[in-house]
Each structure stands twice: as structure tokens, then as C-alpha cells.
């Protein structure tokens, strides 16, 4: 489904920061993959490389056997197949919940209907369906900024689902939520993705959630894959490797 081949990313700036070093991962269709690692390990960068919010400096990424490139039309088509969920939810606060979910349909449309903020009946049906999946349909007409954090994240999941994606990238989806809500959100994510056969890549920094929800875990530390295997094999030794490998250079970058 997704193949990463020797993906590297170096941020050029005042000081060079190597965020990813030759990361190669193969993700199978329908898999629920957790990328585990401390802050600054490069998890966010890795995800953003897949939908090219960040342009990798080396290697290639294949989605369904086709390389994701920067060519605008191809990139838009690829992004349409990849939903994304963010740590800060990133709903457009001043738009209604429904409009936020509908915005997941934008890639299916051209400029002119969007100019009038118009969507067709099918889009609306899909959007409401997605909202129902996360049990948020009763708040469809509220403004997004009136919702609590957990509710906003559920709407964000609905927005990603409305794209009818093959893949969902969840970048620290529960890092700003309390443990109870976090479990709820992860459960929604896992359950819906399972029902719809969507491949999910989920960044986490908490080991317990990874153990609970992941089928497979990729451990990332300082931009390198240090573990790749089923969550059952996450031993203390491996966690030590992921989290405490040379702590001095583990600076904060997400």
C-alpha cells in the first residue's frame, strides 16, 4: 500500500537538522501501524513526507505502486487518497462542523462551486454519514470552535473520512487530549478504519497506547527506524533503545 524507500529529510537552516535518515517501511493494506518515538524523533516529518506537506530530500515514497511526486495534479490526486488527522485538530474554527467535514470533499471539485461554498447532495450525504460514524451528527450546524477538544478531533476524523481515503495519517492525534478522551478517539480511529479497510499510520509517543491499539509498531529514534514488529514484541530493551538513545541530542522538534 505504502512503501517508503530510503526516505531522508534534512532541514536546511541556521543549523542543519537531520530529521530522517534512510527510513524504509512497507505498510500493507488495512494495517493499523503505530509509529512510536520521543518528541523530535522525526515522526511528524515522516508523516508529512508521505503527503508532501514536507518535501523529502532523499528516497522515494510509493502509494499503491505509484510514486508521490511534487507535480501539482498528481500530488492533489495522491493527497485526496490520504486523509490526515492532526495533534491540534486544525479544524477551520469559524466554519460549521458540517462545512469542515465537507471540506474533505474539496479535491473532488473544481474552483467554481467552491467559490460559492457549494457542495452537491452526494457530498452532503457522505459528510453526514462520516459525522454519524464518529457520533457527531447532532452538532453538524455548530461552529467548530464551540466544540471540546475530543469532539473537534472526532470531527477531524470525519473530515479525513469524507475524503474516502485509502490511507489515514494521524499525527499525534491524542497528544492534546486527556486519557479517557484519547482512548475514545483512538478507538474510533481503529474501529472505523477496520470497518472501511483504511490503512492507518498513527504517530504516538505514549507506549501504553501503542501496546493497546497497534497491530504493528515502528520505533523511531533520531530519524532512524530502530524497531519494526508486532506490538507484542515491544520489550523494555527496545523501549530503552527508542526513548533513551543518547538523550542529549534528542531535541524537541514537533
Amino acid at each position: 500500500m505504502i512503501t517508503l524507500e530510503n526516505v531522508s529529510k534534512t532541514y536546511e537552516g541556521v543549523s542543519k537538522i537531520v530529521a530522517l535518515r534512510n527510513v524504509s517501511i512497507e505498510v500493507k493494506e488495512g494495517e493499523f501501524l503505530v509509529i512510536l518515538g520521543p518528541s523530535g524523533a522525526g515522526k511528524s516529518t515522516l508523516m508529512r513526507c508521505i503527503n508532501r506537506l514536507v518535501v523529502p530530500t532523499g528516497g522515494r515514497i510509493l502509494l499503491d505502486g505509484r510514486e508521490v511526486t511534487s507535480r501539482r495534479r498528481e500530488l492533489r490526486a495522491a493527497r485526496r487518497d490520504i486523509g490526515m488527522v492532526f495533534q491540534q485538530f486544525n479544524l477551520v474554527k469559524r466554519l460549521s462542523v458540517l462545512m469542515n467535514v465537507l471540506s474533505g470533499r474539496l479535491a473532488y471539485h473544481t474552483f467554481w462551486p467552491s467559490l460559492l461554498y457549494r457542495f452537491d447532495q452526494d457530498d452532503k450525504r457522505i459528510a453526514i454519514e462520516c459525522l454519524t460514524r464518529v457520533n457527531m451528527e447532532h452538532k453538524a450546524f455548530q461552529r467548530a470552535d464551540t466544540l471540546s477538544g475530543g469532539e473537534q478531533q472526532r470531527v477531524a476524523i470525519a473530515r479525513a473520512l469524507a475524503q474516502e481515503p485509502k490511507v489515514i495519517l494521524a499525527d499525534e492525534p491524542v497528544a492534546s487530549l486527556d486519557p479517557k478522551i484519547a482512548r475514545q478517539v483512538l478507538t474510533y480511529l481503529k474501529q472505523i478504519a477496520g470497518e472501511l479497510g483504511i490503512t492507518v499510520l498513527c504517530n504516538l509517543h505514549q507506549v501504553e497506547y501503542a501496546r493497546e491499539y497497534a497491530e504493528r509498531v515502528v520505533g523511531l529514534s533520531q530519524g532512524t527506524v530502530v524497531f519494526d514488529g508486532p506490538s507484542g514484541k515491544l520489550t523494555d530493551d527496545i523501549l530503552q533503545q527508542i526513548y533513551y538513545r543518547d538523550p542529549e541530542t534528542a531535541d524537541d522538534r514537533d
Binding site: 492533489r76 492532526f86 466554519l95 471540506s103 474539496l106 475524503q163 495519517l169
Partner: protein, 287 residues
Amino acid sequence: MTAIDGAVAAALQLESVRRRRRLVKALGWTSLALAVLWFTANEIGLNPIALAKGRVHMWDFLTRMFPPDLSYIQFLGRATVETVQIAVWGTLLAVVFSIPLSLLAARNTTPLIRIPWFNEHWERLGLHLLVFHTTRMFLNCLRGINELIFALIFVSAVGLGPFAGVLAIALHATGMLAKFCGEEIEGVDRGQVEAMQATGASKMQVILFAVIPQAIPAFISYSIFRFDVSIRSATVLGLVGAGGLGFSLIKTLKLFRYPETATCILVIFLLVWATDWVCSKWRAKII
């Protein structure tokens, strides 16, 4: 304990040194500013005694204006309406012009000019932001030129009358509005923009769904403020023949009909006051 005491003492020492340095700096700048102000006051002939001496003339002028000839109001109705019309159209045109211009004048929405295989040098020189810089420069020109000067130009272009005033206000207000909104657009939350990009939306769709919703409250509130300012400008545009109350003002003044001039000033004051009141209510309602 001693280690902590030592650290505290060192920090206190540092604090007092910094405070002294700040004091010296402040004194230096203050004396410099005072010197400059004193010098300029001399240069421009800032002289309270001249003002005191001139009070006789001022009093003379004021007594000639009193009592205001309120019957003149009947001739001012048309001019007042015209002033408001100039301001409405001027502001409206400015709003329409500044929507596209403000998008060009924001670093995050302006079209980037890229040349493949030459990108690195190109970007180091800032040339990919060519459209942005050109637009900003254009807006600075519009902003830099006073409405009265624009009015003078347009009076000679389209003739005496309110249309020249409308154009003058439209241009100047466009410069202000578009620059302000461009800055507002640059300040939008990047996360929301990223989320829209990640859905596969096109650049224009991202602007419509992530940028505009964030910038719109400031845009509306500033447009209303701009209307308020435009009314005030429109009251004086008549001085150069661009229609409105200013024309009546200068006419009565030139004919030495001071009581009528007083009425004009009174009407202008009422108009400005009423606009201010309406605009503040309007803004409060929208925000």
C-alpha cells in the same frame, strides 16, 4: 545552602548592573530626543506668544461666525447626502479592489514565481516573492498619497464633482485596506491551512476554506472603520472641487459668509459624530 546563596547573589549583582545600564541608556535617548525637539520647535517657529497675540483676530473670526445662520441648512441637505454617497462608493470600491490585492500582498497566498533548476539562487534573492513585493510597493504608493492630492488629479481627469471624490477615496482606502488585510492574512493559523492542503484541495480552495474564514472578521471590521474615515475625508474633498460638504464650506468662506460657514462646520460635526456612532454599533454587532 551556600551554593544557592552564591547563585542568588550573582543574579542580584547581574540584575543591578543591567538596571544601571538601562538607566544610562534611557537618559541618553531622552536627552537626545529633547535636543531634537527643541531644535525643531525653533525651526518651525513654535511660539506661544504669537498665539496669544493673535487671540484678537481669532475672536474676531469667531464672532463673525456667530450666530450660525441655521437657515442655510436647507441648502446643505444635498451636499450632505453627496458626502455620504462619495464615502459609500469610495469604500465599496476599495473593498472590492482590496480582496484580490490583499491576497497578492500576503507572503502565504501570493503566487510564487519559481524557475526550475534555478530555484535556490532565485529564492535567496527573494525573487520568488516578486508579485508580493510589487503589490506591497503599489499599495504603499496608494497609501502614501493623500486623498486631497488624488482628488486634485481626478478633478482634472474626470472634471469637478463627486465622481473625482469617489475615485480619490477608493484609491487611498484600497492602499490602506489591502495592506492591513494582507498582514491579517499572513497571521492566519498555519495548521488550518495545512489541513486543507492535506485534503488535496487546490491553492484557491485552500484560500477559500482556510484563509478567508480566518481573515474575514478583521476584514469586515476594518472596512467599517475605513467607511468612518472615508466620511471624514469626504467632508473636505470639496475643498478641491470633488463634491460634498467641503465645497459648500470653501464657497461660503470665500464669499465671507461666516455664519453660513459655521453652519457647514456644524453639519460636518453632526455627520462625523453620527457616522462614528453608527459604525461603532455596526462593528459591535458583527464581531
